[in-house]
């Protein structure tokens, strides 16, 4: 599983962090998404897909 984030699209809602805090974080200064790991373990797949689904800017793409 590979995760790609688009920081230019990100609106800093932080919904992804709520869904998968081991994979996503936000920059302290402006809240823009930070990807903690590009290739998260399969055990987090459901959380990562949930994060991609709830992102209001559709800034997260997951490649299985």
């Amino acid at each position: 599983m590979k995760v790609i984030v688009d920081q230019d699209k990100c609106v800093a809602s932080g919904q992804c962090v709520t869904a998968a805090m081991d994979v996503f974080d936000q920059r302290d200064e402006d809240g823009i998404v930070v990807l903690l790991t590009e290739n998260p373990p399969e055990s987090l797949a459901a959380d990562v897909h949930q994060a991609a689904a709830v992102c209001p800017a559709l800034a997260i793409v997951v490649e299985d």
Partner: protein, 383 residues
């Protein structure tokens, strides 16, 4: 089993995605009034309007991802009527689409000023087509008057300023978003717009438009004053797009009235801006016009179609970006709440405030502190 989703924007597409994600494999049809593939609306007043993004970038999903969802998209054909008992939607072109479950996600229609129809230079902003037309009119730095002091009006004013236009904002409130944010935070918003060169002519209602030879020339205020304009943007809010349901028998009252599970009738659901449902946590009928609600409510509707009996009890959330300022709001702030700065400082234009009423925090608002604001969300309690 089959599902028909009426509306091909954020809530409609999210319902489709949620159904597939939750394992639903039967046929799904998505009916859309517009001809475009599903696109996102928040960028229309910002990145798209100022020209930083092209149309492709506003798409909710790339075409290859849409194809994988294996749905039948019927676009450019507005719904015209619903037969609740037979679960059939007929369209303006004469199609009849039936399904075991129907999801209504037809969104909103922009409010207009009386007399604006057919007048050149007057715009609303709801669709990609609206944004294209406004974008064309904002070249050559015209004098722009934005009629509306809410989120959309404030964002359009900021973008028009960024494009070099002379911008005036008119509306009945004393400061932008005052009825939601209260005097302190809306005062900061007024300061921000003034500092960026927007002229604020707030606190007086707009009574109409002035025109000459079919083109707008200004905005008339209730006190008789006229604000001269080459371009006028009317951002006076929107109304639920439910006219097509007038004879359906569904309860329509500022949206489609639904139960706590977002059901309007047996086998008929509503999601997104158009849905007014019973929020069990707040014990009230609620209708939310924000982007995250479209996705979250769609997921709840999808689950209920698949046999769950989930009540929808979200903590409302919206954001707005104006100039370089990012505002995040969790919960429902009101002007009569007490404001407590919980982090940062108003003077530094970087803070998180709690809105408190009856001894409880009812909303959290962040100004240029998105991450920290999210961490304060846990202070919100329902019930």
């Amino acid at each position: 089993m089959s599902v028909l989703i009426v509306g091909a924007s954020a809530a409609g597409l999210s319902t489709l995605e949620a159904l597939r994600r939750q394992g639903y494999q039967d046929p799904i049809t998505v009916l859309g009034a517009e001809t475009y593939l599903p696109y996102d609306r928040p960028p229309l007043s910002k990145q798209y309007l100022c020209g930083d993004w092209d149309e492709l970038r506003t798409r909710l999903r790339p075409e290859e991802m849409l194809a994988k969802l294996d749905a039948n998209f019927v676009l450019g054909d507005p719904a015209a009527a619903l037969d609740v008992n037979r679960r059939v939607v007929s369209t303006e072109s004469g199609r009849e689409l039936s399904a075991d479950s129907i999801v209504i996600a037809t969104g909103l229609r922009a409010r207009r000023l009386p007399g604006q129809e057919g007048l050149a230079g007057v715009h609303v902003l709801r669709t990609l087509g609206d944004a294209d037309a406004l974008r064309r009119d904002l070249t050559d730095s015209p004098r722009v008057v934005v009629v509306g002091d809410g989120v959309l009006g404030a964002e359009i004013a900021a973008t028009a300023r960024k494009l070099g236009c002379a911008v005036t904002m008119a509306g009945p409130q004393a400061a932008p978003l005052e009825s939601q944010f209260g005097t302190i935070v809306s005062g900061l918003l007024a300061d921000l717009h003034t500092a960026e060169g927007v002229e604020l002519r707030l606190g007086t209602a707009v009574s109409g438009l002035t025109s000459a030879t079919g083109r707008v020339t200004g905005v008339q205020l209730a006190n008789g004053e006229v604000l001269p304009a080459d371009v006028v943007v009317v951002a006076l809010g929107a109304t639920p797009a439910t006219e097509w349901l007038n004879d359906s028998g569904l309860t329509l009252d500022n949206g489609i009235v639904c139960d706590a599970q977002c059901r309007a009738a047996e086998g008929i659901y509503a999601a997104g801006d158009v849905a007014r449902w019973q929020h069990d946590g707040l014990d009230a009928l609620l209708r939310l016009e924000n982007r995250t609600n479209a996705t979250e409510q769609a997921a709840c509707v999808a689950a209920n179609i698949l046999g769950e009996n989930r009540s929808y009890t979200p903590i409302p959330y919206f954001w707005t970006d104006q100039f370089a300022t990012k505002i995040q709001v969790h919960g429902i702030p009101t002007a009569n709440a007490e404001i407590v700065v919980a982090e940062g400082a108003l003077d530094e234009r970087r803070f998180v405030t709690h809105y408190r009423r009856d001894g409880r925090t009812v909303a959290v608002l962040g100004w240029n502190m998105p991450k920290q604001t999210r961490l304060h969300r846990e202070h919100l309690v329902h019930g």
